[in-house]
């Protein structure tokens, strides 16, 4: 395939992915808006007003960046895992596998689809948050960079989960038992400076802590961790996961007989 044909193939996959999640917007775009509004009301307004300051900001100001990031993470992940697995389940993935579309285009297409959903939901949640608090932007470049990299990272994770999944149960195991606990313990609702030293050290092993803190830094200008260190860490993880995903596609594991 020449470059033009590869571009058409990539556009087709991305268009298909965006068309899929916008067609079922009641299942994909509406729920995070409602859930996050409840978080803003309950944690931000009702409970937050009694908590007082966190890291030098009101609790609502502190919690909003974490909740936006949480939406980006879960939606990027779940878009790719559900779309790719259901293509595998219905065998419609064979449509792409028999075509000359190169594996890296297939991967990139699904990842961009996941990123698109993560970013759209992130924007929706951000708009919802404006009803509850003022949102300032301290570092726009860092904000855009970390949101893009985070959505890419979790889209890749969703892709790998989908390749290994053998049933619809398998695609909910990782979000339920790994992703959600890590997100809740990743400094979305609290600053890790509140934790004893030992648990601070344990928290540093949680990759979600880094992306949440970098995003909070881009909004508020404060972070529990080193921003540059977090960027490098996320980039390294992306390279590792992208290599693993391409390896899975090249070898056809769980995809070809």
């Amino acid at each position: 395939m020449n470059i033009r044909q590869q571009w058409v193939a990539l556009y087709t996959i991305v268009y298909k992915e965006i068309h899929r999640f916008t067609r079922i917007w009641v299942q994909t775009l509406l729920p995070p808006a409602i859930t996050m509004s409840l978080y803003f009301v309950i944690f931000g307004t009702l409970i937050g007003s009694r908590i007082g300051e966190m890291g030098g900001y009101s609790y609502m100001e502190f919690v909003v960046p974490g909740l936006i990031m949480m939406s980006v993470i879960t939606n990027s992940y779940s878009n790719v895992v559900s779309s790719f697995y259901s293509a595998k389940f219905q065998r419609s993935i064979e449509e792409i596998l028999v075509s000359p579309t190169p594996n890296y285009i297939i991967l990139l297409g699904y990842v961009l689809g996941g990123m698109a959903r993560g970013l759209i939901v992130g924007c929706i949640v951000t708009l919802m948050s404006l009803f509850f608090t003022k949102l300032q932007i301290s570092h726009l470049g860092i904000m855009v960079g970390i949101v893009l990299l985070t959505s890419m990272l979790f889209s890749l994770l969703g892709f790998i989960n989908a390749v290994f999944a053998n049933s619809f149960d398998d695609i909910s195991i990782v979000p339920t038992f790994i992703l959600t606990p890590l997100t809740y313990l990743g400094g979305v609702f609290y600053s890790i400076s509140l934790l004893p030293d030992f648990w601070q050290g344990v928290s540093m092993l949680n990759p979600i802590l880094y992306v949440v803190n970098v995003f909070r830094y881009s909004v508020l200008g404060v972070s529990d961790i080193d921003v540059a260190y977090a960027f490098v860490g996320v980039a390294v993880f992306i390279v590792i996961l992208a290599s693993l995903s391409l390896y899975l596609l090249e070898t056809g594991k769980r995809l070809r007989a």
Binding site: A9, Q90, R91, S92, E94, S99, P100, R256
Partner: protein
């Protein structure tokens, strides 16, 4: 001019040790209408899977219009269109999107894809269903949708894995004439089917695969010449109580107005008519007892299975 498909010593073994293909070799010429027949589990779908990259081969070479799939699978895939045995499209998408997406995976510009999609969807009677979810289509429509999808990038080699399974006779006949049309226009077609009448009617050359091995690879004409005898059913006007005596022919009375005659290779049908006429028996109609190819198929497959089990002993 390179062949449309060349398979050389193709083997496929699975992790559990099962050998699905035991070194098959096959050649399909450009423009051919080729039948790949075999019983269930013989290796037909595995062979097709290897050609279109859904199954990884263990060893051997496959080339499509001179493009070795190990060297340039991308070019080989451009030449290929595949209609699989089972429905493999998203049930939630519409035929229009399914076909346009497939065109996109082959790098086709949207404008051209839309023109071709409209042409083929109309030709195969799916145009008025183009915007309905694929899951609501009937079985026959789903099969036709897979044909449209396979043709959208104008492949030079079209592989159809049991395309008319579960399709009613009228629709099957219309699919046959459509396939004949595109074959005459230059597309090479490989067809697997369980309807041997279909292979006899459509195809020029044939390979029979059994237990992962090619047991016959020849033209349909040459294969039919191997028939040593045929059985004809004759409906007669008169009421018969016993089979009429026909010199040199084995005759059986099926019903009081129906007889079966076994005709050996080289024997004449005229003699039957003459003798029955002399006996005052009027023939109303005559037909083959079974599909001729079916008889050959059964005999070839059972012969190969017998020699296999003999070798194993």
């Amino acid at each position: 001019m390179s062949d449309a498909l060349v398979i050389n010593q193709l083997e496929k073994s699975y992790a559990n040790g099962f050998k699905a293909l035991k070194g098959i070799s096959l050649k399909v010429e450009q423009g051919d209408f080729f039948a790949l027949l075999g019983p269930n589990g013989a290796g037909k779908s595995t062979t097709i899977g290897v050609i279109c990259s859904l199954v990884k081969k263990t060893s051997g070479q496959v080339s499509v219009f001179g493009h070795d799939i190990d060297v340039d699978f991308s070019k080989a895939k451009q030449e290929l269109g595949v209609v699989p045995q089972e429905f493999n499209f998203s049930q939630f998408e519409t035929p229009w999107h399914i076909v346009l997406n497939q065109a996109g995976y082959y790098g086709m510009e949207r404008g051209l894809a839309k023109t071709r999609a409209e042409k083929y969807l109309k030709q195969l009677g799916l145009w008025d269903k183009k915007d309905t979810a694929a899951r609501t289509l009937s079985g026959g429509m789903k099969r036709r949708l897979m044909i449209v999808r396979a043709l959208i990038h104008h492949p030079r080699l079209l592989i159809l894995d049991e395309p008319t399974a579960g399709v009613d006779i009228e629709l099957r006949r219309s699919m046959w004439s459509f396939l004949r049309e595109i074959n005459e226009a230059g597309t090479t077609i490989i067809l697997t089917t369980h309807y041997l009448e279909e292979a006899e009617s459509l195809c020029r050359n044939i390979a029979i695969i059994n237990d992962g091995e090619i047991v016959e690879n020849t033209s349909i004409k040459a294969l039919l010449k191997q028939l040593s005898k045929e059985h004809f059913i004759l409906d007669v006007r008169d009421t018969l109580s016993a089979p009429p005596k026909l010199n040199g022919y084995k005759v059986e009375l099926l019903e009081e107005h129906c007889i079966e005659v076994e005709v050996e290779k080289g024997q004449s049908l005229n003699a039957i008519f003459t003798e029955l006429n002399n006996q005052g028996i009027e023939i109303v109609s005559m037909r083959n007892k079974a599909n001729r190819l079916e008889e050959l198929f059964v005999s070839l497959v059972s012969k190969s299975s017998t020699s296999e089990s003999g070798a194993a002993v």
